[in-house]
């Protein structure tokens, strides 16, 4: 049913539709509305789950780890510093191959303290071994959340659903909320073959020495590789039940014949599409590539998506100081095997919540018209604000 809902409320309701056994969370801006709404659902008797209000994100991740390991459908949400505090546990959850779902309400990472949206948090844990999906709208976030539970239990991997803090979490918009019947049809009850069970008492989390560690890592890498197909398959299955897909591994939008492309993850895609509509007369059309699956990284689909492009702007919502953009770097690496790879311009945008206006589409495309355009820049930084030696 279509409703005008704040993103966080929609996510809370989507989570509730999956009937989680255990929810654990620690409040952090901008994730708070999600867990507040979940708490409200529990308090009002609309969600029967063990809601564990933990004393830190570290414990939030640990609680859902324990819960899922013990055979429960488990969910948590966090952001920013919370993700970094969780990071040790996140590596662990993935290494133990425990299926669970987390929403990341993407936010920058301090210092300096900054509570606004970018994607530094999720990029900081990109090597944790999770499936990391990005959503461009609250509809996608709701749908991806429901899909994530199925992806997790069919891959025995944890899934992080990324949605931009504030920009999505605090935005009310029209969302087609799934019904319980639809979700029940799509999402089977939670099952984890490796769950702790006195009838079959296994020991999870053993010490693995060098004689086997590379094999374990290979296995984990292979598992994420196999998850690519699962993500596509489950998105298709979702479409069958709900009548819409959530973006597979990536989707190509905008002008598909354009020679210039813009690739991004998250809500900035919408603004780029608006910009395309507004400014293509001025700077020409662009192919907009919406990357949904950051991990596993869909190298093959990406090579397919850029076919025919001469230039590609990769928007990073985070920065790896001393390198530049991580997404841009990874895209470049993946495309480097192509014979006719587009030239990649990697720009970090909207760090720490800097508003990304519609004009950004025009500014980006104008910039790369110049042969001497930088291959990487913190694009919207006003260098005049800095001491000269830092510019």
């Amino acid at each position: 049913m279509r409703e005008a809902l704040e993103g966080s409320l929609a996510i809370a309701r989507a989570v509730a539709l999956t009937k989680p056994d255990v929810v654990a969370a620690y409040p952090i801006t901008p994730q708070t509305h999600i867990v507040e709404n979940l708490s409200r659902l529990v308090a009002d008797g609309n969600l029967h789950t063990e809601f564990v209000s933990v004393e830190s994100e570290f414990s939030a991740a640990s609680v859902v780890l324990g819960a899922a390991a013990a055979g429960a459908r488990a969910y948590t949400a966090s952001a920013s510093q919370g993700i970094l505090l969780m990071s040790e546990v996140m590596f662990n959850i993935a290494g133990l191959r425990v299926p669970l779902v987390m929403t990341i309400a993407n936010r920058s990472v301090g210092a300096p303290l900054n509570i606004w949206n970018d994607q530094s948090d999720t990029m900081a844990v990109r090597d944790a071994g999770w499936i990391q999906l990005h959503c461009a709208s609250n509809q996608e976030a709701v749908d991806t959340t429901i899909q994530a539970f199925r992806i997790a239990q069919e891959t025995d991997l944890p899934v992080a659903v990324n949605m931009d803090g504030f920009v999505l979490t605090h935005t009310m918009e029209v969302i087609d909320m799934p019904t319980q019947e639809q979700v029940d049809k799509f999402l089977p009850p939670f099952e984890f073959a490796g769950a702790l069970d006195p009838a079959n008492p296994r020991s999870m989390g053993t010490l693995v020495d060098p004689s086997f560690f590379p094999e374990v890592r290979h296995s984990h890498h292979a598992a994420l590789g196999k998850a690519l197909a699962k993500i596509v398959e489950i998105d298709a299955a979702f479409k069958k039940v709900f009548g819409r897909a959530a973006g597979g591994l990536l989707t190509v939008e905008g002008d598909k014949k354009a020679k210039v492309g813009i690739l991004a993850m998250g809500s900035v895609i919408g603004t780029m599409l608006a910009g395309l509509e507004h400014y293509q007369g001025e700077v020409g059309p662009a192919r907009i590539i919406k990357l949904r699956s950051y991990r596993p990284f869909p190298a093959k689909a990406l090579r397919e998506a850029v076919k025919g492009l001469e230039k590609l702007v990769v928007i990073d919502r985070a920065i790896s100081p001393g390198l530049g953009g991580l997404l841009g770097t990874e895209v470049s690496a993946v495309l480097s095997t192509l014979e006719k790879a587009p030239k990649v311009y990697n720009y970090a945008l909207g760090l720490g919540g800097r508003d990304i206006p519609e004009t950004m589409y025009r500014d980006l495309l104008k910039t790369i018209e110049d042969r001497k355009a930088p291959r990487f820049a913190v694009f919207d930084a006003d260098l005049d604000k800095l001491p000269p030696e830092d510019r």
Binding site: A4, T171, G270
Partner: protein, 188 residues
């Protein structure tokens, strides 16, 4: 697409007003988008919220820099002359104030209506929360979204006596302004 910017102070319900306006628009058959310019500010500090409504999907997610309408929940905010920056030429501004409309019309080169929403709220619901009264007045002025849609949006948010009082409040507020005064602009 119509874009709105709501100014207020922390605690006055600006974000709630934005959500209500968007919800009302949705009830009226529009697509909508509402979000705050969330800050680290505490109660009393100036805050903003944004609303977009359209009859097709809204993809743009930037803050509203050039609103068609502004709603100012606290006239003291207008002591900052830059507050009105970006308001589209031919736009309009509704101000919550006990001062007469003329007081603002003199100072700002745009259409403006002043309306004592706080006083009305205190009178009807007993609390100095101006947002629903302002919204009702605003909808009456523009007629973009019928009052019945606001009623529906309020019903989605409140229950019982609170709802009753708010319904009474919007009834009164809608009558306190000139119905459809800004209609032609909204239609433009």
């Amino acid at each position: 697409m119509i874009e709105y910017r709501i100014h207020g102070r922390g605690g006055q319900g600006s974000v709630a007003a934005a959500y209500l306006l968007a919800a009302a628009a949705f009830e009226a058959g529009f697509t909508c988008q509402a979000f705050p310019a969330f800050g680290a500010e505490r109660r009393g500090a100036p805050v903003m919220a944004f609303v977009r409504i359209d009859d097709k999907p809204i993809t743009l997610r930037s803050q509203v820099q050039a609103p068609d309408y502004m709603i100012v929940q606290d006239d003291t905010l207008l002591l900052d002359p830059n507050l009105i920056n970006g308001l589209k030429p031919g736009g309009a501004m509704l101000v919550n104030s006990r001062k007469p409309t003329a007081h603002f019309a003199e100072r700002f080169d745009t259409r403006v209506v002043a309306f004592p929403a706080t006083e009305l709220a205190v009178e009807v619901i007993g609390k100095p929360i101006p947002n629903t009264a302002l919204l009702a007045a605003f909808l009456a002025l523009t007629e973009t979204v019928p009052q019945s849609a606001l009623v529906a949006a309020l019903k989605g948010r409140f229950h019982g006596p609170v709802l009753e009082k708010n319904l009474a409040l919007i009834e009164k507020a809608a009558k306190a302004v000139e119905q459809g005064a800004w209609k032609e602009m909204a239609d433009a």
